[in-house]
């Protein structure tokens, strides 16, 4: 066994292996979960801080759970013994997990004033992954308070700016920065991210990995920081669509502790019988705001997809999608983070603008919030009409590649509308982001997003797998 471990350690051949590949090694006892956890903990320790990807390593928890996985007579499935990282707004309590180490790891929400925040309960997603036998290795970095306070620059975090493994002068994206960079750098096989409006798909696109935003309510948010109750989702960030399916299978399911939790069950179907030739729609003018390489790579993706799908261009009904989601998320965060705002803790946040930008949100009237909620209903009916005719919507995940670390990204985002992001999050729709090439000039990854009806994750994953079976962009990795 030691000889085999040395082989894997010395050749680095464990990194960028899919969940199925690592699972085979564990199941066939070619390597133990303890050894795999040590391997990835070392990678996290050696490289994670370079990318500002780590808040806290969890070696004690990893040691205990991987030993348990190794000693278990029962193999719990594909995630048995597989290590992963956790965005640091998802709580882990050693007390709750009965790990007796005399202390409890902090859950910082990426914010300096909360560096010692500890919970006496563990989030439902972590408990579900424990049942599946997965091994948590680290709490990963994020933009402070999930980016909900109006930050303008990537450095708005307790750990500094999330650095992109493809180019250290570029941002990993937010708010799930550490989840994106850790997976892209091969420091963990997969990670958990969260999204209110873009926080899974954007870092997935910038870091060249596969990210899945599930249907609203499919994954319990109990034990996770609330930014916006009607918009927050937890989802997998990994190396392939198949990996995302395996992870979602473990973390989804009804939870009475999250009152928005859906009773619909997701079971990952590996050989999902996809529609003969699905109808895919693209909003006209969606490429007008995109850079040249994003346009070119998207057009290549459309050519690939047209081999197994019908592609149509459709008009996007005129409606203030971005303003509706902005009003709802600002009003809800004003309430969900009321204690942090009112107590003055926000004055200790890293980004200067995060210390005051949320204060005027208390002036958003109940009338405007309710109007936005009613307009959201109109958006739901617009969305329903689209999906009566079409099975999926596609677009570039982002109009540009990863932005420079010192750039005010609000300036870049202000001029671009995000109808896919605002419609998708308002309607609670699932979407998957798939790497689809590189920018010819700056060599950074570009990405394609596919969005579909609520609870259509099996269809989306099947589409992603089909695309990834005829392209190899998802297998590319940065030089570390």
């Amino acid at each position: 066994m030691q000889r085999l471990l040395n082989k894997y350690m010395s050749t680095n051949s464990l990194k960028y292996k899919t969940i199925r590949d690592i699972s085979d090694l564990i199941k066939n006892r070619k390597i133990s979960s303890t050894e795999i956890s040590k391997y990835f903990l070392k990678r996290l320790s050696d490289y994670g801080y370079k990318y500002n990807a780590i808040v806290t390593l969890l070696p004690e928890l990893a040691e205990e759970l991987s030993a348990k996985a190794d000693n278990s007579k029962k193999h719990n499935g594909l995630l048995h013994g597989i290590p992963y990282g956790i965005k640091d707004l998802i709580s882990v309590s050693y007390l709750d997990l009965k790990i007796n180490k005399g202390y409890n790891p902090a859950t910082t929400w990426g914010a300096t004033p909360l560096k010692d925040q500890k919970f006496n309960y563990t989030a439902t997603v972590i408990k579900k992954l424990n049942i599946a036998g997965a091994i948590p290795l680290a709490k990963l970095s994020m933009v402070e308070l999930a980016g909900g306070m109006g930050y303008k620059y990537p450095d708005a975090s307790i750990t500094g700016p999330g650095i992109n493994p493809w180019d250290q002068t570029k941002w990993a994206g937010g708010s799930s920065s550490g989840s994106g960079s850790a997976v892209a750098a091969g420091l963990v096989p997969f990670a958990l991210g969260t999204e209110t409006w873009g926080s899974i798909l954007i870092p997935s696109a910038y870091c060249g990995i596969t990210g899945l935003r599930p249907t609203l309510g499919l994954v319990s948010r109990h034990g996770t920081m609330a930014l916006s109750w009607t918009l927050d989702k937890i989802g997998p960030m990994g190396l392939s669509a198949d990996d995302c399916g395996i992870i979602l299978n473990a973390i989804s399911g009804f939870d009475p502790k999250d009152s928005s939790s859906s009773r619909k069950k997701f079971s990952y179907i590996n050989n999902y019988n996809q529609l003969a030739k699905p109808n895919i729609a693209i909003f006209k003018d969606i490429l007008t705001q995109c850079s040249q390489s994003i346009k070119a790579n998207f057009n290549d993706s459309v050519n690939e997809l047209s081999k197994f799908a019908n592609i149509y261009e459709i008009d996007l009904p005129e409606y203030p999608y971005d303003l509706v989601i902005q009003t709802i998320s600002n009003a809800e965060s004003s309430s969900s983070l009321e204690d942090i705002i009112d107590s003055g803790l926000l004055r200790g946040l890293t980004a200067v603008e995060d210390r005051y930008s949320s204060i005027p949100r208390s002036l958003i009237s109940a009338k405007d919030y309710i109007k936005a909620l009613r307009m959201r209903k109109i958006i739901l009916s617009i969305t329903k009409n689209i999906f009566k005719k079409y099975d999926a919507l596609i677009a570039p995940t982002r109009p540009t590649t990863a932005l420079p670390l010192d750039e005010n990204f609000r300036d870049s985002f202000k001029s671009t509308k995000d109808p896919m992001g605002s419609i998708g999050n308002l309607a609670g729709l699932p979407a998957i982001s798939l790497p689809n090439g590189f920018d010819k000039k700056n060599k950074l990854p570009t990405a394609l997003q596919i969005m579909s009806r609520p609870y259509s994750e099996n269809f989306l994953i099947a589409m992603g797998k089909k695309y990834q079976s005829i392209t190899n962009w998802h297998t590319k990795s940065p030089e570390i």
Binding site: G150, Y319, P320, L323, V324, Q326, T327, N330, I341, G344, L346, R347, E353, R355, Y356, S357, I359, P360, R361, S362, L363, I364, S365, D368, I370, K371, A372, L373, R374, M375, K377, I378
Partner: protein, 62 residues
């Protein structure tokens, strides 16, 4: 002119309500955020919606 007065008045309210959380250097930025928020409010007002569309699907206790 009215819009500017509304922004100024709103800022003064915030200054009273959050007196320990706002510094004078942040005045212009806060006014800009308030103004932007008011513009969004005005834009939302332009959209007329039938009253049959409710904000929540209220249900009785079970």
């Amino acid at each position: 002119m009215n819009k500017k007065r509304i922004v100024n008045a709103s800022y003064e309210i915030l200054k009273i309500k959050y007196k320990n959380l706002i510094t004078d250097q942040e005045k212009d930025e806060l006014k800009s955020i308030i103004s932007n928020s008011n513009e969004i409010s005005d834009l939302l007002r332009e959209y007329k919606i039938d009253n049959s569309i409710q904000p929540f699907d209220a249900t009785p206790f079970e």
